[in-house]
């Protein structure tokens, strides 16, 4: 029997499509209850297949999946009640009114209409769609459609929420609001699994992570452990004036990008103080500094290369 602490337990999950493409090669994945979990991978890695099997839109070829201790092969109906799904593609009836879309989904989960309406109102308000409740689905912007799908997935108040690229095409302000909403939801005990191509989003929100590539899990750990494995970081420094023709940063590797911009590689064992000391000694003033790439992105690329 599965530990009650586990929201999702996947063992040896495999999928071979009818055209003999092996999308999943026996993956194992464990997500604890209350976790905010990132499932990352490049396009075609097997993320959508994994989620599709969980959605019951793709039939698995082998392996087992347990949702909060319920084996989907034994009682998929009961397992489905515990899952909320926000797919990557818009999949609601665009001719329906926003509120009806959410209320109807509640009905599919057996919620009496009064309760479904109450919850629809609650989540439409929380997700900033209350003013649009009587609009037709197709009249919403891309970001609003994504939020509508989140409201719809929450109407039966699932224990496990699976979000497949929920912020794709959403502007930064709206994305931040969505992050805040998801954090609150997670703090209120909803387990969240997130797939995204915005790695800073995963780094900011998720505590644990799995990286999938070519149908296999290539990394599965806490976010902290993963980032700890990062050996170097690259910083971009903008100088206040033109950089001298000849310059040195001692043991730090660097590259001149243009007359006023430097890229400095800092080993994990060192710190940035030495860089600034060397620059000051040469009379170089730095006006701004930023990471060249997100830390998780660097790790992600190194794991997949």
């Amino acid at each position: 029997m599965n530990s009650p602490k586990t929201a999702l337990e996947i063992k040896n999950l495999s999928k071979t499509y009818s055209n003999d493409v092996r999308a999943l090669k026996g993956i194992d994945l464990s997500v604890e209850r209350g976790d905010f979990f990132a499932l990352l991978g490049p396009n075609g890695a097997g993320k959508s297949t994994t989620i599709g099997i969980l959605f019951s839109l793709i039939n698995k070829s082998g392996g087992t999946i347990e949702v909060c201790g319920i084996d989907i092969d034994e009682n998929f109906s009961e397992a489905k009640r515990l899952i909320g799904i926000v797919p990557q593609e818009f999949n609601f009836n665009v001719f329906e009114k926003v509120r009806n879309i959410v209320v109807t989904q509640g009905g599919y989960y057996g919620l009496p209409r009064a309760i479904a309406e109450e919850r629809a109102d609650k989540y439409l308000k929380k997700l900033g769609l209350w003013d649009k409740r009587n609009d037709i689905g197709r009249e919403l912007s891309g970001g609003m459609k994504r939020r509508l799908m989140i409201a719809r997935a929450l109407v039966h108040e699932p224990e496990l929420l699976v979000l497949d690229e929920p912020t794709a095409g959403v502007d930064i302000e709206m994305r931040r609001e969505m992050w805040s909403f998801l954090r609150d939801l997670n703090e209120n005990d909803t387990t969240i699994i997130l797939t995204t191509h915005y790695l800073e989003e995963a780094e900011m929100l998720c505590r644990n992570i799995a990286i999938i590539d070519q149908g296999a899990i290539v990394h599965h750990s806490s976010m902290k452990d993963l980032l700890r494995q990062l050996h170097t970081e690259t910083f971009v420094l903008d100088a206040r004036a033109n950089l001298p023709e000849k310059m040195s940063l001692g043991a730090y590797g660097f590259q001149r990008v243009d007359d006023r911009t430097l890229e400095v590689e800092v080993d994990k064992e060192r710190n940035l103080n030495g860089v600034f000391e060397a620059l000051s000694e040469q009379g170089i003033e730095i006006s701004s500094m930023r990471n060249k790439t997100n830390r998780l992105e660097e790790m992600f690329v190194s794991l997949l290369s």
């Binding site: 499509y17 599709g52 959605f55 019951s56 839109l57 793709i58 039939n59 998929f76 109906s77 009961e78 489905k80 009640r81 899952i83 799904i85 797919p87 593609e89 818009f90 999949n91 609601f92 009836n93 665009v94 001719f95 329906e96 009806n100 109807t104 989904q105 009905g107 599919y108 989960y109 057996g110 919620l111 009496p112 209409r113 719809r152």
Partner: protein, 257 residues
């Protein structure tokens, strides 16, 4: 799901289906009313007045039951085809597939929605027919039973079409090339007695003959075929089709990968 939850889910699907065809009533309710009125005027009043009696009734009285059934058949069929295929096309069928609703409830919800449109059309067309002919229903029970079972059967046929359809052409092929010819050759406009023996016997292979004559028996009290046999055939076909539809949903044919 508990029985109550299944009932809620069924009501939800039914409500959604009814809301769909009521929202687009100029496409779903108005055209059959206009088409049938034209049939009544052209075939019943204008041409029918020159034909004389058929089966002991005026031609108008004779064709009305067939035309009502024609409307029920085409509307039950087309409602579920366009609704379920539409849900497949815009992926909103996934809302149902990811939910815990049992497949038989999904099927029952869609079929009941289609049947409700078929019956609503039957009422509308019957009311319109009263402007053209006197109808005294002879067997109320048989009339109700035949119209209900026919609507169920053709909704199920429509569901199969919707499941297998890959594009909008696929949902119009069956109604255009199979359903309409079968309806026209199913004794809506003539009695099988008028046909030479070979063609009359061949017509008896057409399931629409039993549907039309079953209903005509209920309304007028006359039929070209044995009514008990008609009801038996409709019942058997309904059960077979229902379980086949359920098999399609269970196996995820054209719905799951």
């Amino acid at each position: 799901m508990s029985r109550y939850e299944m009932w809620v889910a069924f009501q939800t699907i039914l409500r959604k289906e009814v809301r769909r065809y009521m929202r687009i009533w100029p496409q779903t309710l108005l055209p059959p009313a206009i088409t049938m009125t034209l049939y009544f005027v052209i075939f019943g009043a204008l041409i029918g007045s020159r034909i004389g009696l058929m089966g002991g009734f005026s031609y108008m009285q004779f064709v009305v039951p067939g035309l009502i059934m024609m409307a029920v058949v085409t509307n039950s069929y087309s409602n579920i085809v366009s609704s379920f295929f539409g849900a497949k096309y815009n992926n909103s069928v996934q809302e149902l597939l990811v939910s815990p609703v049992p497949n038989w409830i999904i099927l029952a919800g869609f079929v009941t929605g289609s049947v409700s449109r078929g019956l609503l059309i039957a009422v509308i067309v019957t009311c319109l027919s009263l402007f053209f002919a006197d109808l005294n229903v002879q067997h109320v029970g048989a009339t109700m039973l035949v119209v209900l079972m026919t609507a169920v059967l053709f909704s199920l046929f429509g569901f199969i079409n919707a499941v297998f359809a890959r594009n909008f052409d696929d949902i119009s092929i069956v109604p255009t090339f199979i359903l309409t010819p079968l309806i026209y050759l199913g004794g809506v406009f003539y009695s099988l007695d008028l046909l030479p023996e070979f063609w009359a016997n061949l017509s008896r292979l057409n399931p629409l003959v039993y549907v039309v004559n079953g209903f005509r028996y209920g309304v007028l009290g006359v039929s070209d075929v044995n009514v008990e046999f008609s009801l038996g055939m409709i019942t058997i076909f309904t059960f077979i089709t229902f379980f086949y539809c359920l098999h399609l949903l269970d196996s995820g044919t054209r719905l799951r990968e």
